[in-house]
Amino acid sequence: MSTVAQDASHPEYLAHHFSDIEQQKESAKLGMWIFLATEILTFGGLFCAYAVFRAWFPEMFHDAHKVLDLRLGTINTIVLIASSFTVVYAIYCIQRNNRTGTVINLALTLLFAATFMVIKYFEYSHKIHVGQLPGHFYFYDGLEGTNPHLFFGIYFAMTGLHGVHVLIGMGLITWVMIGTLKGRFSSEYYVPVEMVGLFWHLVDMVWIFLFPLFYLIG
């Protein structure tokens, strides 16, 4: 058994039910993409809620979106794009066996993700303070339109679910960063790094749609 595991054609990181690394990698990627498709469906339900209520209350959505801070939203968009780039750079480095580069880029990604969450925290706490909240928690009196609490309900549900994804992504990035530091990954085997990268890009992709829908056009 151990002789098989140490065999050069069947290295330790190759699970015994795969015939080679390429097959293992392709399977992992297909599984990951199917998972990402289910993520799209999860967010899809919320996008549907947004579409329905926006169509019913277009003026209210337009008025309510003006209370969001466009400056903070734009900064967060750029921060997330930058974090996506550093993840790509980290994978680029691990493909060339540059573990230091990988760890530095993953650390930068974590920094950007934390920046995103801190900005989100300031946005949320301001909204909670002035009462721009969902449902009967709503007590803001600066909006005249019909049912502005609906806008904030959808806002908190969508950015909240997205924020949870950012937090999960931060955990996953920490995990592959520790794995890289321990020397688990190399140019021969970096499937977990790549899969976490895919997840992180999906989080970025969702934000690419949330940003205009809430901050730009409401």
């Binding site: 054609s9 080679d20 690394i21 390429e22 392709e26 990627k29 297909l30 993409w33 990402l36 498709a37 289910t38 799209i40 469906l41 967010f43 899809g44 996008f47 549907c48 579409a51 329905v52 169509a55 019913w56 466009l70 734009t74 968009t77 750029i78 794009i81 930058a82 996506s84 780039f85 993840v87 790509v88 750079y89 680029y92 493909q95 060339r96 009462g131 449902g135 009967h136 709503y138 007590f139 803001y140 009196d141 019909t146 049912n147 609490h149 140019s187 021969e188 990268g197 895919l198 890009h201 999906l202 970025d204 992709m205 690419i208 749609f209 940003f211 205009p212 829908l213 730009l216 056009i217």
Partner: protein, 184 residues
């Protein structure tokens, strides 16, 4: 073996260019949003967002270089979200074709706007609600000190109140014909 693992070595300038394109597109979409194109606002913003998401998918997520099976799986997910939203909105937007009364939401204004919390926040805590003098605020004030018990409210009001869970505002149970009078 080693040829396989090196097949996806995409030069760094590809990613740098995509990154720069994403930043520029973000700038464009923010800049464009300062103008009003009416209904086209949504179309423009979504078009830019779709281009950005496509760039992320094709290059950052390697879909352009990888087995096209992954792209198929992903597009299938997006397609079904499209079906979901289209069919739902076909329902919610076309209800008026059958019955004018159902064209929009059945109740246009949420009932909780008449609750004490909203009024207190909107009209101030300290001035004893005297400024408004509306039915909604007086009813809820009485409810608060629990001496309500139908002393001056109409019996039908009390019946609804008794079905409310403790702590919930009494006006949430008001019949719909009372609420539109108190617009905001």
């Amino acid at each position: 073996m080693s040829q396989h693992t090196h097949e996806h070595h995409i030069p760094l300038w590809v990613f740098v260019n995509v990154f720069l394109a994403l930043i520029v597109l973000t700038g464009i979409t923010v800049w464009v949003s300062t103008f009003d194109f009416g209904p086209l606002n949504l179309v423009i913003a979504m078009a830019v967002a779709t281009v950005k998401a496509t760039l992320v998918g094709l290059f950052f997520m390697h879909l352009y270089y990888d087995n096209k099976m992954y792209m198929f799986v992903f597009i299938l997910g997006v397609l079904f979200v499209g079906v979901f939203i289209t069919l739902t909105m076909y329902d919610t937007m076309r209800r008026g074709d059958l019955d004018d009364a159902k064209a929009g939401p059945i109740q246009t204004q949420a009932a909780f706007y008449d609750s004490l919390d909203i009024r207190a926040a909107k009209f101030g805590h300290g001035d004893g609600h005297g400024t408004t003098g509306e039915h909604g605020s007086t009813a809820t004030t009485e409810h608060e000190d629990t001496t309500h018990a139908g002393t001056d409210a109409v019996p039908h009001d009390t019946t609804i109140d008794s079905t409310q869970p403790a702590g919930m505002d009494s006006t949430a149970g008001h019949s719909p014909e009372e609420t539109p009078a108190e617009g905001h």
